[in-house]
């Protein structure tokens, strides 16, 4: 601080100001994130340490508190695996770093919404994705996992019929050689007798997991590599970009098949392998945007105010490339969803997984007389992917402050 400070400016008592604690200055979103993530982390660690005892602990806890019943309705007996923890973590991230800032800054939100709603298909898409999101989060809590029941195989959807020759037993009314669908299975059942609707609800969760976790991984690596490489330049840039080249040239599918062959297919494996080799395009795209931002004078202005390299990248370069990042990631998600469905259809996925892809795959051989097994998830998958694409397109228009300020000039 300067030695002489005139009275006109001495209203702030710097000593008292400086002694205040640092945690007060944390943004609300960071606080909320810490509050929610730390218990999650603790739970995960406990899970790791006390393998086998955890179930008992929960049951005991439920008994002690007299909450066994409500606990179960809340889905707390559900057995979280590693992937579930990451999924919950990404949802926290999404809530506190996407939704909360929109709520905290209603003026910008109104502005974005004004821009966004010009695009009608995108609004419909947003509603659809919100629906998918909600179903994916809370659906499994209300709808049980569909259990196979061979006696109930190939039950038709409500108002539809199927030839009794193809089924073992008809749940609804059978007359004249055809079986009527019932409300018990509104969308029919699969060949193994699983309820299609319940299957799809659980499949929605899987879809959400794929969308959120891959986005997290791709965003983390892609944004870091892209912005750091653009801002640093020199050998850092060179190294990171050659790494990106390698990742882009990597035969991910073959690698995935090889790993699947050795360890068996699982959703976690699919997500990790496909996401860790998918950030190349995003990193390159983000770098190209960040390069032009890094040349801007306000970056110099920030450096001259003493900001660290991390701060410049995190607070100034990333937000200024955010529109490209969000758009790019939104358009990347459908690729993963499609890839999962395709691999499942080819029988290269985890057959025990309740994903839309597996549902489609299970209807493969009975398409002739039980098309509902493929049609229902097929349409849902189609609309979801279409919705992501429309959304990405509309976000590009709505979130681009540069285009806006240029138009004003």
């Amino acid at each position: 601080m300067a030695t002489e400070q005139p009275d006109t400016f001495d209203e702030v008592n710097w000593e008292s100001v400086r002694s205040s604690s640092g945690i007060v200055n944390l943004a609300l979103k960071t606080k909320l994130m810490l509050i929610t993530t730390l218990p999650l982390l603790a739970l995960w660690l406990y899970d790791r340490v006390a393998v086998g005892q955890r179930e008992k602990t929960f049951v005991q806890l439920g008994k002690d508190l007299g909450l066994s019943g409500p606990f179960e309705t809340l889905g707390l007996t559900w057995n979280p695996a590693g992937l579930d923890y990451i999924f919950i973590f990404t949802i926290f991230l999404f809530a506190f770093y996407m939704i909360l800032p929109l709520y905290e800054n209603p003026r910008m939100t109104r502005y974005y919404w004004k821009e966004f709603k010009r695009n009608r298909p995108a609004v419909v898409s947003l509603v659809w994705l919100a629906f998918v999101f909600v179903v994916g989060i809370i659906g499994p809590l209300f709808i049980d996992k569909p259990e196979p029941d061979i006696l109930k195989s190939f039950q038709p959807p409500v108002y539809a019929t199927v030839d009794t020759a193809n089924i073992v037993q008809c749940v609804g009314e059978a007359s004249g050689g055809t079986c009527q669908g019932t409300w018990q299975h509104p969308l029919g059942t699969t060949g193994s007798g699983r309820d299609v609707l319940a299957f799809m609800v659980h499949g929605t969760t899987i879809t959400m997991k794929i969308a959120f976790i891959t986005t997290l991984i791709v965003a983390l690596i892609g944004i870091s590599v892209g912005t750091i490489s653009a801002y640093s330049g020199g050998w850092v840039d060179e190294t990171l970009m050659r790494m990106t080249d390698i990742v882009l040239a990597f035969p991910t599918l073959i690698f995935f098949l090889m790993i699947t062959y050795i360890y068996g297919a699982s959703l976690g494996l699919f997500i990790v392998i496909f996401a860790t080799f998918a950030w190349g395009g995003a990193a390159r795209y983000i770098r190209s945007k960040a390069l032009s931002v890094a040349e801007e004078e306000f970056i110099d202005a920030t450096r001259i105010s003493g900001a660290s390299r991390y701060r410049v990248v995190r607070r100034h370069i990333v937000p200024n490339t955010a529109s490209s990042i969000i758009t790019n990631l939104t358009l990347l998600v459908p690729g993963f969803l499609l890839a999962e469905a395709q691999l499942s259809f080819l029988g290269l996925g985890d057959a025990g997984l309740l994903s839309w892809g597996q549902l489609i795959a299970s209807g493969r051989s009975s398409l002739e007389y039980a098309p509902w097994i493929i049609l229902a998830p097929g349409f849902i998958l189609f609309f979801t992917i279409l919705a992501f694409n429309f959304l990405g397109d509309a976000l590009l228009d709505a979130l681009n402050p540069e285009a806006e300020s240029e138009a004003e000039k």
Binding site: T8, V12, E297, R303, I304, G306, A307, P319
Partner: protein
């Protein structure tokens, strides 16, 4: 003023850039100093290395391709030998910078209030509400009307002059000892320009800070400077008190610059010729190829030593060395070169 009183002491500052065409020397062995509470103007036409010189002081020049040598001492501490952390501390705490184009020097993603408080909170653990209060006070001080409402405005919602005021607030929030102003009025219209200069003068008195002011506009220099450093092609041509420079411009280049000040009823032709090729600077005086008085001695050896022609007034011209008649350049001003018709590199 003794050397020890100086806030900033720049010695032998040289900045080179490695380019595809070879080494480019943008600033060549420049010395200058700034005392406490003093305003020093660096003047010169575009491309003479003024901006690079200021950027070299604060370490904004990217290395590589840039290469800065020489010493820059702020309050006796050498900035060049500091590590990144110390340098970050100096930036913002001791030195602040305002830029030519406030449009580009602001982040459009954040409100001006956010950016002002950021500059403060980078260094000091100040709670948000205190930072906000101080930010609003500052905005009021720099003359932004309705500051508390404007605090949450985004840069695109402000006019050019308002933005420059906000930029100044951003620079001042850390209460710097030295403010580097790189052509802060060039992008503004004349009336706003005058207001900003007046504001800077007032703020300097309030805060007792020093200002390093970079400009090509001698009108602005007359307005604000205590001392002037005239730069050309990376070299210092002349330096001295603002009155000496205006009363008695002694280097032919300074005289030529004075000629370029637009005035009622007088046409200005600019200075004939262009800046020398920075990859291959001419021998002798840098200005010799465009100088009306150049003789063969002007084109050999190095840039002439700076000669102190009166107290605190130094000129780098052979005509002031012993054995030359300095009246050749002294008396020639203002009437000799009305004949030149060729339009040269006019100052923008």
């Amino acid at each position: 003023m003794s050397v020890n009183d100086n806030l900033l002491e720049v010695k032998n500052l040289t900045t080179e850039f490695r380019t595809d065409n070879g080494m480019l020397t943008a600033v060549d062995a420049v010395d200058f100093s700034i005392g406490e509470g003093e305003t020093v103007c660096i003047v010169g036409e575009s491309g003479s290395g003024k901006t690079v010189a200021t950027e070299s002081i604060t370490g904004l020049v990217k290395e590589p391709p840039g290469k800065v040598s020489g010493t820059v001492e702020l309050e006796g501490k050498d900035l060049q030998s500091m590590n990144k952390k110390e340098l970050r501390q100096v930036r913002g705490d001791n030195i602040a910078h305002i830029f030519q184009n406030p449009q580009e020097a602001m982040n459009h993603c954040y409100s001006i209030g956010w950016q002002i408080t950021e500059a403060l909170q980078v260094h000091q653990d100040v709670p948000d509400d205190e930072a906000r209060k101080r930010g609003i006070d500052l905005l009021e001080r720099v003359g932004l009307a309705n500051a508390s409402a404007r605090f949450d405005d985004y840069p695109h919602e402000l006019s050019g002059g308002q933005k420059q005021r906000a930029m100044i607030a951003m620079a001042l929030v850390g209460n710097p000892d030295l403010l580097i102003a790189d052509e802060p009025t060039t992008a503004l219209d004349v009336t706003v320009q005058a207001q900003i200069l007046k504001l800077l003068n007032e703020l300097q008195e309030d805060y007792g800070m020093s200002i390093l002011f970079v400009t090509h506009d001698l009108g602005v220099v007359a307005e604000i400077a205590d001392r002037v450093v005239v730069m050309y092609a990376g070299k210092v041509m002349e330096r001295g008190d603002v009155f000496d420079i205006f009363e008695e411009p002694s280097h032919p280049y300074t005289q030529a610059l004075m000629e370029c000040i637009p005035d009622k009823g007088r046409e200005t032709d600019g200075i004939p010729g262009t800046l020398p090729n920075p990859y291959n600077t001419p021998d002798g005086c840098r200005f010799a190829p465009r100088c009306d008085h150049a003789n063969e001695d002007c084109t050999i050896g190095d840039q002439p030593e700076e000669i102190e022609i009166e107290r605190n007034h130094e000129v780098s011209c052979v005509y002031y060395q012993s054995g030359y008649d300095s009246s050749v350049v002294r008396d020639s001003e203002l009437e000799s070169d009305s004949s030149s018709t060729e339009m040269g590199a006019t100052d923008d």
